[in-house]
Structure formats: C-alpha cells, structure tokens
Symmetry: C2
C-alpha cells in the first residue's frame, strides 16, 4: 500500500480549537501515522506520493448514518405528495418492480454521489442488500449494511430474515473490515413483537447489531399507541430490542422517558433533517439527545425523500432546522461537524474513524477552499457547515486508498453507471 | 453584439408542463428571438456562435430578491449567537470599520459567487451602494440597488437620504437598463414615521420604488406594537409607504389583515428562508401569500446570516421549511422555481426577465445535468429544486452577454477578488 504525505490545512475533529493552518498528514498501511503542522511527519518517513493541497481543508470523511442507497433509482419519481399516497401509489409499486441487479446499479450511483460529496461511510438498509455490498466493495467505501425486513407477512418475513443472515455470512467484515452487517427490522409499525424478538435473537447469536426506523412520524406514534398503548421506544424496549449495538433512525417524536430509555441502552440515533422536513415528519430533539450524552449521527435517508446524498447540505439543514424551532445557539457549526464525523463513528460502530489522529484509519476528504464562497476565511468550521457544498470535495481517501482525486472518481465508472440507471429506472417506471 | 444559438434541454418557465428535451434558443441583440425544439430558430438565422450543451438544462437566470452583497466581508465572522448580541457585539462594530472601497470588493466577491451559482439579478440594500453599482456594472449582472437608511439620528438619516438620491441620479438605468435604483429605508423599527414619509416623497418624485425589511422577527412585532399599538404592516400603511413599487423583505409574521394590506397595495415580498431559519426568525406564510396572488420572490439575505448566496440551496430550503411547518404538498418543485424566476421578476420590477420567450432579455443559465445526482431524469423541476447545487451551473448569460462559460468567470478576476477580500476582512477585524 502506498505511503502518502498530504500537505493541506487540517481540521482533525479532535476538539473545537484544533486546526493546522499549514498542516501535514502522514499515511502508511491505510492508517494515519502523524497529524500536525508542516514538518511533523516522523523523521525518515519517505512517502510514495506527496499530495500538495494548500488551498484545501482536510477533514475526516463524512459518515451518513441512515440511507437506502439503491433508492437513487426512484429519484424524482414522485415528490410533493402526502406520505401515504406517496408510499402506496408511487414508492411501493415502483419498488415491487425492482430486480436484484437494479439494486446494484442504484447503489453504485449512490456511491458515485457519496464519494463526490465526501461521504466515506454509510449505514444502509434495503432489499437485495448483497447487491449494495458488491457495489461498496468495488467503490472502496465503508458501510454498515442491513436487509430491510417487514414482519407481518410470515413467509416474506422469514425469507427476509434468511437473506439478512446470508448477508451476514457472506459480507460481514468483508473488504478488510470495510463492511459490517447489521439486522434491519424495518420499524415498530411494520414488525410484530415476535418477529422483532426473533430478529434480535438471531442478531445476538451472530454478534451483530440492529438498524431500525423509530418514532419517525406522528402517524407511527398514533398507530403504536392504539395497538400497544405506549410509545414506539417503550414498546421496542419491552420487545428486548435494545442492548447491544442499535442504530435508531429518525427519533423525531420522543418523550422524556423515551430519551432516558435510549440513553440507558446506549441506543445510537441517526438524525435525518432533510427527510424529516420534506416528509413533514417534524424536528428531532437533537440538542436534548446530545445533552444526555446519546450518540447522534447525521443521515440523508433515501433519495426519494431528500433528494440528494450530500452530507454537507444535510449538516447545514441540521443546524438550520434546529435553529428555526429552537434558538440561534442550537447546533453550532463545530457541533454539527462533530455529529457528522465522530458522532457517525459512534453510530455506525466502526472503530478508529471519525477523527484524524495517529493510529486511526486514513478515511479523509479534502475540501477545495479556493472558491469565492469560502472567503474571507474567518472560520473553517462555519464555512464547512454554512457554505460548503458536496461539490467542493476534491479528494477522497478510505483505508489509505484514493477513491477520488481532483474530482475524478477512481474506482467507479460514473458515466456508465448514470446511463445504466437511467435505462433501468425508465424500464421500471414503464412496468409500474 | 454576438448572435447565439444554444442547443440544450430547455425549461422556459412558461408553465409547469413546458419543456424542450432537444431544445434550441436563438439570441440576437441581447434578446431571445426564438425558443423551442431543435430546428425552431427562424429560417436564415446565422449565429456567430453555437453553444452545444446537450447534457445541460437551460433556464431563466435566478433572481435574488433580497441581499446585502458587500456583507460577504463578514462571512463566518460571527455565527450561532442570539440576534441582539450578534448584531451589537459583532456585526455593527465590524460594519462601522468598513470603508467605501471594502464595499466594492465585498460586492465583487458576492457577484463572483452569484454568477457561479446562476443568479443573474439581485435586489441589494446596503451602505456605500455606489460601490456595489460599480461592481455590478463590471460583472455584467442586473441589479436593483438601494442605500440602506436608518432614520433615528437626523444627521445620519439626512446624509443617507442624500446618498440614495445621488445613487439614483448616477446609476438608475445604468448599464443599458441593468441597474434600477430604489430607496432603502431599513425597517419600521429603525425609521421614524416622518423619515419614512420623507423618503417616500423623495422616491415618488423620482419615480423610484422602495426596498424595506418588514415583519422579520417577533421582537420587531413587539417593538412596533408597544410603540404604535399596531402591526408593522398596518403602521407602514399609515405612513403612506405602500402604493407604487415596494419590495418588502421577510414578511415572516403577518396577520390576515396584514396580508390583505400587502395584496391591496401590490406590495412584493422577498422571502428569505435560510436567514429566517438561521436567525430563528420564523416561517413566512408563503403558500397563503401566493394563494392571495401576492408577488413573492426568493432571496438569500446577506452572507452573515446564511452564509452563502446560492439560490439553488435557497429554493430547496424554501420548500423544505414550508413542508416542515405545513404539509408535503406545500411549495411544490415547479412553484419554487417559479418564485425564483417569474416571482423574482415581479418583485424586482425588471421587465422581460424571468422566463424564456421571444422578446424577453437573454438572461439565462445552463445547469450541468451530466452528474450522478441528476440521474435518473424523472423530473427536471424536481431535480433543479431538490438536487441541484449552485456549482452545477456551467453557463451564465445576461442581456445576451456571456458572464460565465464552462464554469470560468469572464467578467471578474475571481482570484484577485478573493485575496483582496481576505486581506481587507482581516484588516477590518483587527480594527474592531
């Protein structure tokens, strides 16, 4: 593996004051061996390549903690509709026509967009997730993958669980540890208690975590209240789902008791501000969750409810949404960056990512600060959250391997993928 | 002036179904002479240049209806603070140290960013506005300019009014009509009634319009209520400010009666969703205003409360914010595009911009749809609002003159401007 020396401004995400204006990062065997000001690389370190990016800010790769990558296939297919007709008349009929191979191409397109916009790790949940795994291995990114499972049709539920187990067997820890497989029971309102318990036993027996949608909409709250007389969080606790590694996506509608439950079981929250806005779901109590010490990461959700996978835009929206409903002081720029990096590392459970320190994996991106919207340079964190766009990312590295350089993708054939998705999406739409 | 033939996908913004997949626009003497499918240019039309942009969507240039361009100088200087300390301890002391020439460079930087992100027209309000006028003339964009005036210090008020008159005398209709000068009394809470009346008389005598902040925050409502016992809109009506061309920026907090007043006097509203979120101002009742037939455009506000000038991001936020507080069906993609183009034309009062039809000015942009986040191509309006970034703009033309081609600025020296702003901003900060 190539040894790299990168010269750039460096925001290591190790604390809000930490910044190297003329910084230097040394990388060997896929790991960071030193981070500091120019000249800080170990004596005798001879890089195979030196990347000189003096107008760029290097930071940890962004971590998208909740998405459905293959749903790029539905981007722009239906928008601006009330939730239930949108799902029942548009999304589900379309998904019913998608084949395994479509999932591969949709995931590949998502990964092109993610790499372009600085996301190095995602937590994904969908059907035919082995196809997403293949795309991730080719792309070179890091991913937590789970087979989305609904549980009310026993036959479909049993098939889905079998597929999730196969996914685990075939892909957990694949790509030198770049893939982690979780179990993906869809949500409290789509899975009966017995199914959740069965999934949890299975996950526990394999030492795997759980990825689930939770407390996303008021409709879900009402449904669970009517059925079980309690909140979705309380009900999931009673099903024994918590304890162990759990990614709970959305968590928009929480009582004080719910938050205490999440805290008690160290449940990790994936916050999806843009999807929550676009689908009129509401505003998650992020400052309160952070205050309690609960791990919170940021996610884009799928592209049918966003409609992009740009984590820079998502960070900005996270802050703006919270400021709108709370106060100007909520989710300050650095705190948002921290959620998208260190928070994302905690949520996805990958070790040694989310900050730039010796011994950590070389998962990093460079952001091109030479452009007008980054001047004057009063505050790098402020600019990264309030001004940066995904398209400002110039360089992407995962595990010490370059995935993008000078805005050129190195592992995926972008043009081919775009055209293949176009063809397949139109075919599916014509079949619906 | 060069004659152009542009071949591209064309979204003329003449109605929600109108789109030319293999479109063609002919331009002569700064005006559009034909728009349609390939082959629709008049027989015998021989262009000086043909631009072939088959992977791009051509649409009208975006219109930013409320900003303070020179405030780029403060970008990232202070964020995440409560409104009053932010203004009193940060923004105002910084502004007090800004010199006329700083306003020129700050405006030039704003114009670099605006052209890059597809904005061809802005409505601006600030001090030393003649400097902004100079920058606009060089940049080649279109602008409505007003001298921001506060009225409680009689000497300062009188000086400001004099400057606004001079601005009108020197720059109204300059650049072959690219500049329109308005009068800029800052807001109901910063101007006494007599001053507003004086400004209005002056504006009327010159046939000029008014650009004013209105009903932006709850604090303003409380202040005006305490002082005058009524809403800011009602009080402005009584001062005789309405009637004639008025741009009212923000209009977040409106009663039903307020909206009827705005409708009665044909007051045009500049909606600033991102600033309203970041500063915790609230959510303007945009669907209600549109329902009443009130002209509404979109604006970014200044970069100290946004912090960019990207109208694509602003369109997206406009829709998301409204969906969050209202419903998924509020501000559909095409409606948002309509606000940012046709709405902006009405708000700024420029004739023959905002759509692509024969006889209209050739103010247009091309958006590079070859990128992964624009696939599959189910809906061009949806992609423009929910996926596009300012950086996707490839070509910008105003009055038939190219201001950007292949993402290269043709009228401004971007690098010089960035570095000059950096130097000046740091100097000002050191003097505060």
């Amino acid at each position: 593996m190539a040894k790299y020396l990168i010269r750039a401004m460096v925001l290591p995400m190790t604390g809000s004051g930490d910044f190297y204006e003329q910084g230097e990062i040394a990388i060997e065997e896929g790991k960071i061996i030193s981070v500091g000001e120019k000249g800080s690389a170990p004596e005798g370190f001879i890089p195979d390549r030196t990347l000189t990016l003096i107008d760029d800010v290097i930071m940890p790769g962004l971590i998208n903690t909740h998405t459905h990558a293959a749903m790029t296939m539905l981007r722009g297919y239906a928008d601006d509709m009330p939730l239930m007709p949108w799902l029942e008349e548009k999304v589900w009929p379309f998904e019913a026509k998608m084949k395994a191979e479509d999932m591969y191409w949709g995931s590949a397109l998502a990964l092109c967009e993610m790499i372009r916009s600085g996301t190095t790790t995602m937590a994904d949940m969908y059907m035919e997730e082995q196809e997403t795994a293949k795309a991730v291995l080719e792309a070179g990114t890091r991913a937590s993958l789970s087979r989305g499972m609904t549980g009310f049709d026993p036959q479909a539920a049993s098939k889905a669980l079998k597929e999730n187990i196969e996914l685990f067997t075939n892909y957990d820890n694949a790509g030198q540890g770049r893939i982690k497989v979780l179990f993906g029971p869809h949500a409290p309102y789509t899975c009966p208690g017995e199914f959740l318990q069965m999934v949890k036993r299975q996950a526990d027996s394999l030492g795997a975590g759980i990825h689930i949608h939770l407390a996303e909409t008021k409709a879900e709250l009402a449904m669970i209240k009517e059925k079980y007389g309690k909140t979705p969080v309380k009900w999931l606790e009673e099903q024994g789902i918590f304890g162990g590694h759990v990614i709970a996506a959305h968590c928009v509608h929480l009582t004080e008791e719910d938050m205490e439950i999440l805290k008690k079981y160290k449940v990790a929250v994936a916050h999806n501000p843009e999807s929550n806005m676009k689908l009129n779901s509401g505003t998650a109590p992020i400052p309160e969750l952070l205050q309690k010490g609960i791990a919170v990461g940021i996610g884009t959700d799928g592209t049918s409810s966003n409609n992009d996978l740009d984590m820079f835009s998502e960070m900005r929206s996270a802050s703006f949404q919270q400021k709108l409903v709370g106060s100007c002081e909520d989710l300050k720029a650095y705190d948002v960056l921290d959620m998208a990096t260190n928070g994302g590392a905690k949520v996805t459970g990958f070790k040694n990512i989310g900050k730039l320190v010796p011994g950590y994996k070389a998962d990093l991106i460079s952001v091109d600060f030479s452009q007008p919207h980054f001047y004057p340079r009063f505050s790098i964190p402020s600019h990264l959250v309030y001004c940066a766009k995904g398209s400002d990312v110039r360089t992407v590295m995962v595990d010490g391997k370059l995935l993008m350089e000078e805005r050129k993708l190195l592992t995926l054939d972008e043009r081919k993928i775009c055209l293949e998705v176009e063809k397949r999406a139109k075919r599916i739409a014509s079949e619906v």
